[in-house]
Amino acid sequence: MLCALLVGMLCGVIGVYIVMRGMSYIGHGLSHAIFGGAVVSSLMSINFFIGASVWGFISAVLINLATKKKTIGADAAIGIITTASFALGIAIISKFKTFTRGFDAALFGNVLGITNADLIAVIFVTLFAFIIVLVFYKQLLFATFDYDVAKYYGVPVIWIDVIFSMTLAATIVVSMQVLGVTLIAAAVVIPAVVSRLLTNNFLHMLIFSTIIGGFCGLFGIYLSYYLDIASGASVVLFSSLLFIIALLYSTYKGRITRTINIRKNKFHL
């Protein structure tokens, strides 16, 4: 439960930067890329966390570099780099059949397969991510809002990219066991989108997204247990339900605000 709560909070806070940078697809792509790294590290008998994290970090940096090239769109860059990495993982599995971690769990998540080492890794990465967000709050905000201009104001955008890529890769690596490769993207994106629908304040968005992510992680796991379905699927389904509610609420609120404005204008006329 603690693991699901932390993974939800972690994905929630990182997701805000992903969504606001317009790179929602990166979570999906990077989780697939990391799957390739996990398989390669298994083949080479390297520790899963180290191998997958290094692979994920390199992929994230490559994606960031490729997206800066204006001639390639972000979606195309993510698609090429990550699918190639995923394909490599599949090719190695089909050839050597060496992947020791549950294949289904890696793809769809299985919270019951979590070891003490997994939990320690989740705690460590969550603490690391929150420290990074707190310490580099201003720099991350500026680089997310206006990357090209941030460097003229003294924001070390390349280092901020490196640190963020590291945090993102680590987030996806430790979330893989709970959420699964195929479902991480939704867990990263949905809490951030829901919080965006609820607030117009970036700091509040970070706080809401963290709470919503943690809430979805916790209740998703409850659902997974009672309905006997894959943990990743239940977390994402529960998040999606919250998204629909938030969408309806914001549409209704928007209509009310518009009506009030029209009445105010009529009154002034």
């Binding site: 707190l134 201003k138 809002f145 206006d146």
Partner: protein, 261 residues
């Protein structure tokens, strides 16, 4: 209204010595020789792709220089300690980003309080001071997308000015705004220039903006003309810059251009 630069123009702030450069493998600027003195108010004219934005970015150290050198405040460009405020083209801004006027202006203080996640007290005071100076005090908690064109431009000016820069660089500050807002923006820039801020800006508007400035540079990858509008607004210079035929007329001491379509 013809704007005048502030009086003392002796100290050289930025010097381009035969600079050729651009982005990856692309030579956008060709043999640029230019001196910008402290307190000047300069506008750059030229067609799209003529290197106006590249020249601005070369001052910010963001282009590759293939030959020549840029000396800023007496030092090599990459070692310069000049405090530069930059206002980008507003068309490039994500207006749906959840950010208030206050948060945006506070971004300009990032150099002075970079080791803290929050803005220090002096920074907050500077933000208050600049918002009052630009008439933004009532709008500080508003989202940037809720502002009018002039208010948006003033907010971005606030971000550039809050750290008290030596030079203000603006990329097409009057693009896409109505006549009244344009007038408002130009009046603010003129007032800032008279308070000692050196201003370098690009514009596409020859009659409503460039003709009012004390110094204009016509650029088409290299400098075609450099001087006051009355000196350089000639049919030959505009043909060399734009490849278009224009007529120039004089009215109330200023020179204007008529397009010959």
């Amino acid at each position: 209204m013809l704007y005048q630069s502030q009086n003392s123009l002796s100290e050289i702030l930025i010097q381009f010595d035969s600079v050729s450069g651009g982005y990856e493998g692309e030579m956008t600027l060709n043999n640029i020789n230019l001196i910008i003195k402290k307190g000047e108010f300069i506008g750059m004219l030229g067609p799209s792709g003529s290197g106006k934005t590249t020249l601005l970015k070369s001052v910010l150290g963001d282009i590759r220089i293939y030959s020549g050198e840029i000396i800023i405040n007496g030092k090599d460009e990459y070692k310069n300690e000049l405090n530069i405020g930059y206002v980008p083209q507003l068309e490039t801004i994500d207006w749906n980003f959840p950010i208030t006027v206050r948060q945006l202006i506070e971004m300009g203080m990032i150099r002075t309080s970079k080791y803290f996640p929050w803005i220090k007290k002096e920074g907050k005071l500077a933000v208050e001071a600049i918002s009052n100076r630009l008439g933004l005090e009532e709008l500080m908690n508003r989202q940037i997308r809720e502002l009018s064109g002039g208010q948006q431009q003033r907010t971005f000016l606030g971000r550039a000015l809050v750290s008290n820069p030596d030079v203000l660089i603006l990329d097409e500050p009057t693009s896409g705004v109505d006549i009244r807002t344009k007038e408002e923006i130009m009046a603010i820039l003129n007032s800032l220039n008279h308070q000692g801020v050196t201003i370098l800006m690009t514009t596409h508007e020859i009659n409503s903006v460039a003709s009012q400035l004390p110094r204009v540079i016509c650029l088409k990858n290299s400098i075609i003309a450099d001087g006051s509008p009355n000196e350089i607004f000639t049919e030959e210079n505009f043909y060399a810059t734009y490849g278009a035929t224009v007529k120039t007329i004089e009215h109330d001491g200023s020179k204007f251009v008529i397009e010959m379509l």
